[in-house]
Amino acid sequence: MVCDDNARFLHGYLDGELDLVRSLEIEEHLKTCPDCSQELWNQQTMRKAFRSSSLYERAPAALADRIRASIAREATADVAATAEDASAKKATIVSMTPTPLSSKRAAWNWLAVAAAVLLMFTVTWRVVPGLSGRGNSDLLTEEIVSSHIRSLQPDHLFDVKSTDQHTVKPWFNGKLDFSPPVRDLAEDGYPLVGGRLDYVDHRAVAALVYQRQQHLINVFVWPEGKETGEPKRMKSVQGYNMIAWEANGMYHCAVSDLNSRELEQFTELLRK
């Protein structure tokens, strides 16, 4: 019935998916081929039937509510699991156990949702500091130090290894929902050595890696919802120095075993 060569392309033509040259070829062919014209007419009729049909199936209203409820449960369960992990982490640090922190989080058992809600009540006091006041958030501090330590383990430091800020910055495109500020400070003695994706404070963040002689500096960056204008904060945890600050709507936290004076100098350079 239909010319074999053109049958397939007739559909591309119908769907407006052909390039100009191919479209013109098909139009030329249609002028001289009644079979293909007939076929196109048939297909256009079927398309109209689709358009005017009631075939599109819309979701029942109750389904949206069911889904919202299950997502709310999931979010709650996750916060509870995080809190449980946090208390386990505290115990680890207090006992000074040198073993690496291993994954304790098993797949969440749906039947345990009720238990999770109960757990929420008992651990809320632990969760709250982590969710609100950033400045004195012990949880966040521990999280960042742990991420820093983990990054120093073999093969964990880089996803992109480059001293070129014009390589490192574009690498994050499409991997994060923000573009972290990346600057090379090689001239000042703090060369950029790479970057990676990390996960802190319940979200994917950028980790930029700088070097000072034999010391590595991780700078964690992620957007802060609001401009709090909080001053720079400094902390020392487990022998690591940390400096946190906010700039241009981004939360920054530099962590290193570098001495506090040099880390201070580094962050001043970065903030310029």
Partner: protein, 201 residues
């Protein structure tokens, strides 16, 4: 533990692995509501046409949305509809594999069905006045592979490129699948007309 979990890159694709679960929280739930939930009708439409049953479609969509929420960290921005539809499609196929393996075994071999003898004359192949009911029945009966490209194109209005990405086939194959699917649909409509006697299409 979740607070220390590091998002690792999939070295082969250079992308953040879709399999990396998202530690969802209340803030994510808000973003999910804004980004993904508006496409619930599209999700349900696809699931309903793939599993062919309203009750199962609801379960599939609920499961798919939960998966989407867990993988929300892997969503790279842009239009969430094709992203969600891909998860819905995968969930639907998993459901069919588990519960209706026969539905996946339906003939989808072009060579077998491409050899049907052509109808005897032009008049016999004319498609006229297609009723919604007939179109629905004809579409329901198509093998799932044809049904899904037709639903994505004709009901969801996706481009060939989007369909190719979603189904995981080359763009050229999208066009041939649509060509074959539409031909099969027309054949089914013509058979229905023949069965119903004098009622013309």
């Amino acid at each position: 533990m979740s607070t220390l979990a590091v998002y690792r890159l999939d070295s082969s694709s250079g992308r953040m692995s879709m399999a990396t679960p998202n530690a969802g929280n209340a803030a994510d739930a808000g973003r999910f509501e804004q980004t993904v939930m508006p496409h619930l009708d599209a999700a349900y439409n696809l699931a309903r046409w793939l599993v062919r049953n309203t009750h199962d479609a609801e379960d599939v969509v609920q499961e798919a949305c939960l998966r989407a929420f867990r993988f929300f960290g892997g969503f790279q921005g842009g239009d969430a509809r094709p992203w969600l539809l891909k998860i819905v499609r995968n969930t639907s196929y998993s459901f069919l594999e588990k519960n209706r393996p026969a539905a996946l075994g339906e003939e989808f071999d072009e060579r077998v069905h491409g050899q049907d003898a052509p109808p005897p004359n032009v008049e016999a192949t004319m498609v006229r006045n297609v009723e919604s009911r007939m179109l629905r029945e004809a579409l329901e009966e198509l093998p799932v592979g044809f049904r899904e490209v037709l639903v994505l194109r004709e009901l969801e209005g996706l481009s060939y490129k989007e369909i190719a990405e979603l189904v995981g086939i080359p763009i050229g194959t999208v066009m041939s699948s649509l060509a074959r699917g539409r031909e099969r649909l027309r054949e089914a409509l013509l058979r229905a007309r023949a069965k119903e006697g004098t009622r013309g299409l």
